[in-house]
């Protein structure tokens, strides 16, 4: 986090934030006094920690939950919830500007009220955090401790003045934004994808460094809220790892909305002169300098492991996080990890899913595996980009012949009605079969649509059977079924056609 000059206020910004703190880290909180060993001590009250603590407690385990900051972790306080709340407001402005294409009248004077958007976000954040308030956790039978957790041995954790003994422990401390090492960036001041939610006014000119999911979401949202945004990405495409057609559509969408897209571009130096920040952008050896008011960056996330005294507990880790086996066990067999602190894919939903595995494996001798999870993910730009399972490149790399059934959203009736026809559904199957290997959906509601495919993969359902699943008409998820229909049409081989024709001819006699 940067304490350098930016236009952001200090958290808490308004009474919603104060209210949030009251629930998520009540002032004058009194930690409980430990009474014998715990079945499970959970460190970190983000999505993973909350899920594990609740699941374990509901099954009768004696559970301690330790949090040093706010309950809810990055997701509620500085991640998905605030960012998607702001994206909703950004989409509203996009729709107002675009009113004509929906048969409406655009407002005469469209003035973006940035403060109102941010206040709404804070209200939502506070409201959602209420479900996880300290009081509600206590009422569920969880011993809630606030303070820094440190391991004092292989089965001992200290927090504040207390020493907690455990049979099993879960490290779920999450991760924090990592920053590119750009000369002058720290001195010039910048915002991370966490501190940007403390902005009180929209920066007129904004440089976003990094074209991963967060960078693209941020660039688009601020552009729609009226900032002049430059998005610099060192790779030749946005969303590295995503399918190129998905990245292409996103690139086009960003450019159409007015984001200045700089691919293959490295930010090599930043400096500050007065109110202006200057950034040197290098592309193919040529350098150009731009002037902006604010810089937002965050390329990846680093695990929160400092200060845990992991060595005391014999827990191995490296720069990418805590090392776990497929059962999410660390090098200390009594200690597990879940969520961002140990996973490559740092999502709220994977944090929760892994926490569930840990409860079963740690407390009930379960043998559930991380590698067996079917994990979808979604980038919440407009259009959204969602994926589950294998990419064709991965499949081919593993020697699996793959064929993709593609449906364009402009062929999906409801998408046309909604004026949301940008994007596609691609479902990848093993060539010669209907076994679904993976899928990518680019659509306004791709994050909702992908669930059908995840369910199909999870339940072993093939693409052929998916065509038989009746979807209410008209819905955009019909695009998934249409891929099944496309698969089915290719199965009408000439032999089958001939046999069918002969049967039908005979039937006419």
């Amino acid at each position: 986090m940067s304490g350098e000059p930016t236009r952001a206020a200090a958290f808490p910004v308004d009474r919603n934030d104060v209210e949030l703190i009251r629930g998520a880290h009540p002032p004058h909180w009194k930690n409980p006094i430990p009474n014998g060993p715990y079945n499970l001590v959970v460190i970190g009250a983000g999505p993973a920690g909350l899920t594990a603590a609740r699941d374990a407690a509901s099954l009768g385990a004696k559970v301690a939950l330790i949090e040093r900051g706010l309950i809810g972790g990055a997701c509620v306080n500085a991640g998905s919830i605030p960012s998607k709340s702001i994206i909703r407001t950004a989409r509203l402005y996009a729709d107002m500007r675009d009113a004509e294409s929906f048969g409406g009248d655009p407002p005469d004077h469209l003035r973006v009220d940035f403060q109102r958007a941010m206040t709404r976000m804070r209200q939502i954040r506070q409201r959602i955090s209420r479900a996880d308030s300290a009081a509600s956790l206590v009422s569920e039978g969880i011993d809630l401790y606030f303070g820094e957790a440190r391991f004092a041995g292989r089965d001992t954790v200290t927090v504040a003045d207390s020493t907690l003994h455990f049979k099993k422990a879960l490290i779920a401390t999450g991760a924090h934004p990592a920053f590119p090492a750009i000369p002058g960036l720290v001195e010039a001041g910048y915002l991370s994808n966490e501190t940007m939610f403390d902005l009180t006014q929209c920066p007129p000119r904004l440089l976003v460094i990094g074209g991963g999911p967060l960078g693209c979401e941020t660039a688009q949202a601020f552009c729609l809220l009226g900032a002049k945004v430059i998005l610099a990405q060192s790779d030749p495409m946005f969303l590295p790892g995503e399918e190129r057609d998905a990245a292409q559509i996103l690139s086009d969408a960003l450019a159409r909305e007015g984001v200045e897209v700089c691919l293959n571009t490295e930010v090599v130096a930043v400096r500050r002169e007065g109110a202006n920040k200057f950034a040197d952008l290098m592309r193919d050896g040529d350098t150009t300098t731009i002037s902006v008011d604010e810089i937002i960056t965050g390329v990846g996330r680093s695990p929160n492991i400092a200060g845990l005294d992991l060595e005391e507990a014999g827990v191995a880790y490296d720069a990418s996080g805590i090392e776990v086996d497929d059962y999410l066990r660390t090098s200390n067999p009594h200690i597990y990890a879940a969520g961002d602190v140990c996973l490559e894919y740092k999502f709220t939903h994977t944090a929760e899913a892994t926490a569930r595995i840990v409860v079963r494996n740690a407390l009930f001798r379960g043998r559930e595996k991380l590698s067996e999870l079917v994990v979808p993910w979604c980038t919440y730009t407009d259009p959204e980009i969602a994926h589950v399972g294998l990419y064709p490149l991965e499949a081919r790399g593993n020697g699996i012949p793959v064929k993709t059934y593609t449906v364009l959203m402009h062929d999906v009736a409801r998408a046309v009605m909604d004026g949301e026809e940008e994007g596609f559904v691609k479902i990848h199957v093993r060539e010669g079969s209907d076994r679904i290997l993976g899928a990518t959906v680019v659509a306004s509601h791709a994050g909702e649509m992908i669930n059908t495919v995840t369910l199909a993969i999870r339940s072993g359902m093939g693409l052929h059977a998916l065509a038989d699943v009746i979807h209410p008409f008209p819905t955009q998820t019909q695009g998934i079924k249409m891929a099944g229909d496309a698969y089915r049409r290719t199965r009408f081989t000439s032999l089958r056609r001939r046999l069918a024709a002969r049967w039908l001819a005979w039937s006419r006699r």
Partner: protein
């Protein structure tokens, strides 16, 4: 404007007009002193090395069609080959190339790198392919033709393809002295097959044997609009390598797995572009049964505008593709002659529609790089919308070659006999079709 009534012309006559008009580009835009050909017909255009490759491939066609005398064609060819042979190579400034490759754009007079452009692997491959056509065609005994053969071979052999892989399994696309290899994503099928064929066949400095397979590992086989295709968005990706190599009936491991071939794939991709235009999801003017074809080419410029209550972003020179875009309503009409061998019916119908409906965008049978009817009577554009100024050498070259391949198969036949091409295809894993028959040992087409 057209000087003849195209509707009265039979198909072959019509194609002859288009082909001859396109061929004229090279004679009008060549520097006879060094054989370099301008990228476009616009004033002060530099040379594009790929356009030289097309020119070298088109001269034999001109000779066969009687549009240029054989000795004149040989002289132009020789001027280019001698220029590249003697041009300065090296990693410094003020050079023409490096490691046997050439910079993408060169000064028309001095032949030195311009615009701080990149050393281009695929454009060098297109240039070398043109040299090999020249070497195969000019089989005469006289000194000029003997020198053409000798220089073409030498210039091909000196390219250091292995170097162009850097430390990666596939070939890099570009290189600059200051920043090294450019890391543009080059995932998926595109126009580079000829690059791999030439690089793997190199007798002295070949790319690694696995380089082609490493590239094809990024291919994506898709069912789109009911077509099973190896996807490549812009149409030129399905045309450029095909101008030199007849892919009908020959298959690599990928196409054997898919029970298809690259020629058939280009046919389907051509139809896919037409289907996309029929869908016309963004409601662009003119798109339909006979107006289709998105490709790399000139465009109206970078601006955003609302047309019929829909917001669009228009671009300048860009690679446009279907069905995933980008698409700003700009059609590349040279796609029709360029896809002619794959899908003659729909290409001819589109060519006829073009002269019938948009005669003003055609300059005496020569096709522009692009035009955009959606912009008709908008901004500063006239009733035909935006029309690209002048002409682009790449578009004219591919038109000449593909019309010829459709009419006589001349270039394909010349290249089928070329031992480098055959060896490269073999190393890339291609088998069957004409590859299973012995080379004819060069066709004497005089």
């Amino acid at each position: 404007m057209l000087r003849a009534d195209p509707a009265a012309l039979a198909d072959d006559e019509l194609l002859d007009r288009y082909q001859r008009a396109a061929f004229g580009y090279f004679l009008e835009n060549v520097n006879p002193d060094n054989g370099l050909v301008a990228d476009t017909s616009r004033p002060n255009s530099p040379c594009s090395i790929a356009v030289v490759g097309f020119a070298l491939s088109c001269y034999p066609i001109g000779v066969e069609r009687g549009w240029i005398a054989r000795d004149a064609a040989a002289r132009l060819t020789l001027a280019a080959l001698r220029f590249f042979q003697t041009s300065t190579q090296g990693s410094g400034q003020d050079v023409t190339g490096h490691k046997g490759f050439y910079y993408h754009f060169l000064d028309m007079r001095t032949g030195l790198r311009v615009w701080r452009c990149e050393l281009s692997m695929v454009d060098t491959a297109l240039l070398i392919a043109g040299m090999l056509v020249a070497g195969a065609y000019f089989s005469g005994d006289n000194d000029d033709e003997a020198e053409i053969r000798q220089l073409a071979e030498a210039l091909y052999r000196r390219v250091d393809w292995r170097w162009a892989q850097g430390s990666s399994p596939t070939l890099r696309q570009g290189w600059k002295a200051r920043s090294g290899f450019l890391h543009y994503g080059w995932e998926g099928y595109n126009e580079a097959t000829i690059l791999y064929v030439l690089s793997m066949a190199s007798p002295d400095r070949p790319s690694s044997d696995g380089s082609y397979e490493a590239w094809t590992a990024t291919y994506q086989w898709e069912n789109i609009y009911g077509h099973d295709v190896l996807y490549g968005g812009p149409l030129f990706m399905h045309q450029f390598s095909h101008a030199w190599i007849d892919f009908a009936g020959i298959r690599d491991a990928f196409m054997r797995e898919k029970n298809s071939d690259y020629f058939e794939n280009s046919r389907r991709s051509t139809h896919l572009h037409r289907d996309y235009a029929r869908h016309n999801p963004y409601g662009f003017d003119g798109y339909g049964e006979n107006l289709w074809g998105l490709s790399a080419g000139d465009g109206p410029g970078g601006f955003r505008a609302s047309v019929e209550r829909r917001r669009h972003r228009f671009s300048g020179y860009a690679a446009r593709g279907a069905p995933f875009g980008p698409d700003d309503g700009t059609i590349a009409p040279w796609s029709y002659p360029a896809s002619l061998p794959f899908a003659p019916d729909i290409c001819l119908a589109a060519l006829r529609h073009l002269v019938d409906r948009y005669p003003d965008v055609i300059d005496n049978f020569r096709l522009p790089s692009g035009f955009n009817p959606t912009l008709a009577n908008r901004r500063k554009f006239g009733r035909n919308g935006w029309v690209s100024e002048g002409h682009f050498g790449l578009d004219q070259g591919i038109a000449v070659m593909m019309i010829e391949n459709h009419r006589s198969g001349l270039i394909w036949e010349l290249m089928r006999s070329n031992p480098h091409i055959r060896r490269g295809l073999g190393k890339a894993g291609f088998t069957g079709g004409w590859l299973s028959r012995p080379a004819t040992g060069g066709r004497d087409v005089r």
